[in-house]
């Protein structure tokens, strides 16, 4: 197990490396640059800025110097926020984004799994229909629509929560719900599906035929085994939450790093873009490993050489 784990973790490095090269290349292949503005900067000023930030060097040199800084933990200066370094920007916003993502994840699990179990147990009766309807609404409603609706109803209309910001627990509620809406629906559906699949499996029938009471059959066998595929989607769900939060952060004016995920592309803030990409790639790759480990833990049938 340990060798498997260390091998998987080792492989994260070349993956990150490849991602960084592709991103760097693609980023510079796109037309436009960090100094673009409606009122054009004088060409001389642009040339000067390019020289100052090393944008006039050949691209492989730029990559090497970025890489050199990266491995030492220096993410470079921001191209857009010229007085700040990317390290500071990320340090300011990352805890907030992670907090939002984790809270949404916990909510998604706490609501989604019971919802799915509820649906599976009431298969083809009203609990199933209700749960599936909610799932459909949750999946079909884009997060930005959900966010605006939550603000309009609960903040403006009823004044229960603030419309935006991140200054205390009351600010956490609506963004967490908005971000968790889609994952709740997906988790509920997958839980329901795998629960149903498990009920059909032979060992459940065996347990039933042995005369075990329904409840213990449910709790011991079904839930445990049904969780396996659910763990599979928890991985990508968590990755989505950590960085897919940019829409939510933007609408709720939350000072996290998620907003930079998109902004850095539009403003061509190269170093911030690279930092965001590395962050995302690392989160996904790492979480993949965690999920595989969890898999092995939960499912005794799986053993890694």
């Amino acid at each position: 197990m340990l060798t498997y784990l260390s091998r998987r973790i080792f492989w994260i490095i070349p993956v990150l490396f490849t991602v960084s090269i592709i991103t760097f290349g693609l980023m510079h292949a796109v037309p436009g640059g960090p100094w673009d503005s409606e009122k054009r900067l004088p060409a001389a000023v642009q040339a000067r800025l390019n020289a100052e930030y090393g944008l006039d060097k050949p691209i492989h040199e730029q990559y090497v110097s970025w890489l050199g800084g990266f491995v030492q933990g220096d993410l470079g200066p921001s191209y857009r926020f010229r007085d700040r370094r990317v390290n500071d920007i990320v340090a300011d916003g990352l805890p907030t984004t992670v907090q939002l993502g984790v809270m949404a994840f916990i909510l998604a699990v706490l609501v989604g799994i019971p919802l799915g179990i509820f649906a599976a147990l009431g298969h083809n009766r009203w609990p199933d229909y209700l749960s599936t309807s909610l799932s459909i609404v949750g999946i079909a409603t884009p997060s930005f629509v959900l966010a605006i609706l939550l603000i309009v109803v609960f903040s403006v209309q009823f004044g229960l929560f603030p419309t935006g910001g991140w200054k205390g627990p009351q600010y956490w509620v609506l963004p967490t719900i908005a971000l968790a809406g889609f994952p709740i629906a997906v988790i509920a559906r997958y839980t329901r599906a795998s629960m149903l699949e498990v009920t059909r499996k032979d060992y459940i029938r065996t347990a039933h035929s042995k005369g075990l009471r329904n409840q213990s059959v449910v709790s011991r066998h079904m839930i445990r085994n049904a969780l396996i595929p659910v763990v599979t989607i928890l991985g990508p769900t968590l990755a989505f939450l950590v960085t897919g939060s940019f829409i939510i952060e933007r609408i709720f004016s939350i000072p996290g790093v998620g907003q930079f995920y998109l902004n850095s592309i539009t403003t061509r803030d190269y170093s911030l873009l690279m930092a965001m990409t590395m962050l995302y790639a690392f989160s996904v790759a790492f979480l993949n490993v965690v999920v595989d480990v969890l898999y092995a833990y939960i499912d005794p049938r799986i053993r890694y050489s």
Binding site: V30, P31, G32, G33, D36, S37, E38, K39, R40, L41, P42, A43, A44, V45, Q46, A47, R48, L49, A51, R80, F81, R82, D83, R84, I89, D92, G93, Y129, T132, S133, L134, I136, V137, T141, I148, L149, I151, V152, V153, S155, V156, Q157, F158, G159, L160, F161, P162, T163, G164, G165, W166, Q170, R250, I251, F252, S253, P255, Q259, T266, R268
Partner: protein, 586 residues
Amino acid sequence: MSQKRLLALVGALAIVASACGGTTASAPPSSGEPGTSASASAEPSTGLAAEQTVRIALPGEPPTLDPSPAQDANSLAVLRALHRPLVYINEKLEVVDALAESHEISSDAKTLTFHLRDAKYSNGDPIVAQDLVYSWKRLADPRTAAPYSYVIAEVEGAEDLLAMAGADPAPSDADVEAALDKLGVSAPDDKTFVVKLATPATYFLGAMTLWVFVPLQEKWVTSPDAFEAANYVSSGPFMLDTWDHNSQIILKPNPNWYGDVKPTLTEITMPIYAEPAAAQAAYEADEVDIIMPVASEDVPRVKDDPVMGAEFVSDPQLSITYYNYNNGNDATGKKKLARCEDAKACPTTNKNFRIALSQAIDKQAFINATFAGLGQVANSFVMPGLPGYDESLNPYPFDLTAAKASMDKAVQELGYASAADIPPLKFGFNTGGGHEPRVAFLAEAWRQAFGLQTDQIGSEFSVFLTQRTAGEYDISRNGWGADYPHTNNQLAGLFTCGGGNNDQQWCNEEFDSLIDQAAAEQDLTKQADLYKQAQKIMVEDAASLFLLWPERPALVKPYVTGLTKTPMDSTSPGEHFYETMQIAEH
């Protein structure tokens, strides 16, 4: 199944119904900052509120609060309160003394002498003329790479410095220092600042109201983390108390503010709302007191609302929405663009074609449909209120018959059988700026009038800019806001041959010479006349499609008073004079 669908539908409808039913800010309990209640008092407030704090929505994080390289509107919104230059505008957009208590202009209009008043920075140090020498040199210094460095071009020695910026190989520090010494600014003593201009530039005093010309202490600016709140030194009515990046900015009065009007406000909080809908919701939930602009999609609803309707304000701006025609010249202005060598490939290079396009647009309908009716129809460029504004200049009013006649001529000249045969015009715009309806309106108007096809090409902002500059579009959206209230800022660089902001690839030598003459003309009446002549040439050549001088709608809580509004406000009415803002009892 139908049960399931019904449930889903009902669920969705329920959510929407609660959003529909009553959008009035019907006194919900306020959440957020204490001290500001939701209900507006019925009788007019007589006195000032005990708490003089205001919350103004800021549409984005300022990229910098360093005055020299600043250019972003969000930076400026804050900088105006933190620093003031020698001369500043008043609410009538006249240039008046600010840091300077008096000034003289020499008879040849090339030497300006300013006498500083007794003033201190927020850190207690006196403001001395040497600080101005330092900040002006810093602006011109190629190593600062300030986007607005070009405004100093008229000063003696500035041209050389500006040219150094793009030089390859880059000049050595010694060279730069030597050139800086030759810059025409000097401080004979602590309270006198002298500027020597290379050419008599009548608009230079107007340009001096810009934020880049404020005094800066060298020891402050060069210290580490100078622009964070803890270290920030200001010379204006307010100080930078807090800067929570991407979250909010808080300003407090500067105890050493030298101005005649001292701030009544004890605190200005500027929360950052990147999403306009979020700012709107915050206003309706009483979390913010001023938002500007109000999204045009919300304007009709806001105006009809019993509470918000009374709080809605919309004032003219020194800005213009105009769409460029590609006139076919390259970046120097002297040669034709490669792709427009054959006029057939670039129909907009034909004057009658441009005239036809302009005559086919009902500009008032355009404003009503896509700007919520806010704004004044523009048939020329220079905005009302500036010298050179020409109300009577309207050579191509909306007239479909005349448009068809012009198009027929154009089509014949270009060698097409009809307008419908012309390959689709490339109509460029940037996505994410709310321009789709405007582009669609124009495209559809031309399609209906002439059967003319257009490809509406929406690109990401940077890509759009690159394409527009390269002359890749036949028609493209554009807009311009005055940097300072002088006509030179509105015409030079935008319509001069090879001008830095000339996005319609237009070039006319006569126009250029008139602009140069006007800049040097000291008689203001004659100057205005020269600008009018120049503009007439440009407008009669249908260089671009002028659409409207927009208004900037805002929502202001009724208890916010003492606003000194100008047509250059962009994030709050009265943003040039936060020191006069007050909170009435409520």
